[in-house]
Symmetry: C2
Subunit: 388 residues, 2 copies
Amino acid sequence: MKRVAIVGAGCTKFGERLDAGLSELFTEAYIEALHGVDKGIDPSEIQEAFIGSMGSGGGQIANTAPLMIDYAGIPGIPATKVENACASGGYAIRSAILSILTGQCKVALVGGVEKMRDIPGERGRAWLGVGGDTEWERWHGLTFPAVFALMATRHMHEYGTTREQLAKVAVKNHKNGSKNPKAHFQNEIKLENALKAPMVAYPLSLMDCCPTSDGASAAILCEESLARRYTDTPVYIAGFGAATDRLASFSRESLTKGIATVNASSQAYKMAGIGPDDIDLAEVHDCFTIAEIVHTEDLGFCKKGEGGKFVEEGQTEIAGKVAVNPSGGLKAKGHPIGATGVGQVYEIFKQLRNEADKPSRQVPDAQIGLAHIMGGFIAAGTVHILAR
Amino acid sequence: MKRVAIVGAGCTKFGERLDAGLSELFTEAYIEALHGVDKGIDPSEIQEAFIGSMGSGGGQIANTAPLMIDYAGIPGIPATKVENACASGGYAIRSAILSILTGQCKVALVGGVEKMRDIPGERGRAWLGVGGDTEWERWHGLTFPAVFALMATRHMHEYGTTREQLAKVAVKNHKNGSKNPKAHFQNEIKLENALKAPMVAYPLSLMDCCPTSDGASAAILCEESLARRYTDTPVYIAGFGAATDRLASFSRESLTKGIATVNASSQAYKMAGIGPDDIDLAEVHDCFTIAEIVHTEDLGFCKKGEGGKFVEEGQTEIAGKVAVNPSGGLKAKGHPIGATGVGQVYEIFKQLRNEADKPSRQVPDAQIGLAHIMGGFIAAGTVHILAR
């Protein structure tokens, strides 16, 4: 199969961006992606766009895709908004890959964008939860902190995972985020403070939960044959996969295993012809600390049940066996829903080109990176494997 | 290029469906599509799903794609929700085509679904307008009836189009809808009553505006080589196109020409190797009567400015030069946003197989059909050309 290349990427500062609306955020990320194409690219060379977004301004704005490209100055091209809750960006990337592989376009813009910090009224407060099962779970109290708390208590029960191990995910991701000028939180935290933080849903404290953020991200993808017209250091999509799971947690056979992660990553590994041990760094969907632990198991970085020990031993540190969330992850970099997935690809693009910010969160000699994103309670997700 | 085949299609009754929620509606359409596959298909043969939906239950439900396939009994496969306002279904079809053409899947389910009639509170009333430009137009009063009224008055000014010609679109579409058991409105209307109906935004009366409807639609697509495993009478996607335009009406060079329609249909005609004169029937995005008139011009069925005369002469009747909206169109069949685009394909699939309901809205000897859908003020749309 032909490959698809990434030749430019951009990402806004994630966080409370009261200075910018949806269109301004998207354009900021797009401009960075455009100017980041080493040998230059004319906007007219972009033939199609795919935008990941969930709420699009608290549900006040639909038809987001033509709006974003209009504001960015490239109106008229086919543009598709993809919405799979927190995995919207991942599915947008996949959609762009498919379009390029069919020859529908040669160069595509992929972006993600979300406003979460200044949504007025009831929509703002209740907003994120719509990605889970609404009718049978959310409306009855099983919001995301609650359902991931069930995952955590069950993981503790089955495998002896501890609150300290959960907290160490947060400590690591804040440490990485402190070196990332785009991160929502750029402060390190101490283990004891994480453990003393206000309880949200036992055993998840405030420091086990990612924030809600504003932000946008963008990447410019093209067919393999064009890549070196744009840069001498393209990054390639070596493999990709997508899968879903039943939406409601009560429908699952296990609370501690994400079948969608297992299936999507299996597809991606197979396509890339590699295995988990070949991955140098991974951006993983750590909406809650327990999620990162479960995902590292389901992605095959460690055995099922050993995710807690894996982080405790420092194996997911930048200098560890596999650097997990060198960007800071959702926990510290932030989680502007639609922007998160493409933001992961931005981080891996930078890492594989040895361009991560310094003082360094750069993973030494990074050759292969993996982006993993999941929407809802691990109900829809994608995995993309990127290689130099 | 390889072609993609349609081997089954389903559509719920459109209208006020207080009996069914989002999941029930979708499953109803899916079951009809599944059972409509002549030689049978096992649900496990469906490898991927694409769902068009805008609000997904008044914004209370995201992650709609995994929810729909979970409820339908085929969880786990990759599933993508596509949202391009009223064109969501059209872009979902295009996404499925791309996936099949790359070999990512061999058989795909495409669906569309929307609840619009029993959305509570402010979200229900203001809801549809989010597909237009919100920040600079909708919030200041330029809702869809208003902006299409500007299109109508300008078309009257430039080309002498009359209110009677507008009303004749509604009369024709209600006549067709009266023969469609799935239509929201199954009653004929008289020209003089349409002209006397309450004014919504001059010159558009209530009878010039499509309703808001609940509904769902589905189609099963597969790669060409598999088509005859499922049916002896597949319908093929002969050509397709997609385009966008600047979202706000104030950004346009013309209020009476839809560039996105022109561009999307040009792509589709070129791919199919045919022209407008080859089309036997077309499902056209008649959100307002003036929209059908403008679209018949932009699709090339008549010259620019002659759309009013074209309908007046009966050329868009079932027995006319090109049958426009034999289903009743958005005006009479109804407009459940996400479901509308795939519902158009359902109608054309039935027509090309000579299976349209009787007493007949069947277009005699229909060989080639065109589905045209546009989101917002003709801001994002697709055209699909279907052939036996």
